[in-house]
């Protein structure tokens, strides 16, 4: 762990997390946990569709819809899914299952595990108060150890950070 001296000199990173689908949940949690492992002080600000990533029970969806660059490895090649197919009932759910299976097979961490690692390594997590009100979430639905804040709370931390990301 860091001692007092190191903490004062530690580099820092902030991430604004705005997206909560299965695929978009990865970049912020991978970067936050890795930065924390590299002794950076990390702040994550969860707003709009990123806020549900703080729910106790995660229920991330995945859709290939509107994502023409997404190709899944299939039978030795790669296959993209046409939007026309993606809108069919059940296709999004099926693609989500395929993605989760692929991730497990390739030794990719689950979002649940990464989030737990972030909590364990003292990543500061701020839930956007306005989003909480807007979408009528309750703090009781969220994991412990998070704080509530708004844009000013984020800016105060970001202005002192070495790295600021918007994802």
């Amino acid at each position: 762990m860091l001692d007092g001296d190191q903490l004062d000199n530690a580099k820092s990173m902030s991430i604004i997390v705005t997206k909560g689908s299965l695929d978009w949940a990865y970049p912020p949690f991978i970067l936050a946990t890795t930065a924390a492992a590299m002794d950076l002080n990390v702040t994550m600000f969860f707003t709009f569709y990123g806020l549900p990533l703080l729910k106790k029970k995660l229920n991330m969806k995945f859709t290939p819809l509107g994502n023409p660059a997404m190709e899944m490895p299939m039978m030795g090649g790669h296959m993209a899914m046409p939007n026309l197919l993606s809108v069919m009932p059940g296709v999004g759910g099926m693609a989500g299952k395929m993605m989760k299976n692929l991730m497990a097979k390739k030794g990719v961490a689950s979002i649940e595990d990464l989030r737990e690692a972030a909590v364990e390594s003292d990543v500061r997590m701020i839930a956007c108060q306005m989003t909480l009100d807007l979408f009528e979430y309750s703090l009781d639905d969220m994991i412990d150890g998070i704080e509530l804040g708004g844009a000013a709370t984020y800016i105060e931390g970001a202005v002192k950070s070495d790295i600021n990301l918007f994802i």
Partner: protein, 74 residues
């Protein structure tokens, strides 16, 4: 030689780094952690991790598809 061993084979980014960090925390200064991994990206990543954290990368090698690292906690 090593004071602790970590088998990170089959794990993908960023798990080898996260697990290594967790184990390093339990070691004393001067102790050596030996890691084996199969993620080819871990070669560059353990080097970057050590540069940033100040821990010493004593060795980085590969045997077939397995990458081996020795990190000394500072």
């Amino acid at each position: 030689m090593a004071n602790a061993q970590l088998n990170a084979e089959g794990l993908n980014c960023p798990l080898p780094i996260l697990k290594a960090k967790k184990m390093l925390k339990t070691l004393s200064a001067g102790d050596v952690l030996e890691i084996s991994a199969t993620d080819p990206g871990s070669v560059a990543d353990f080097s970057a991790f050590c540069n940033q954290t100040g821990n010493e990368l004593l060795s980085s090698s590969s045997e077939g598809d397995v990458y081996k690292f020795e990190i000394k906690r500072t």
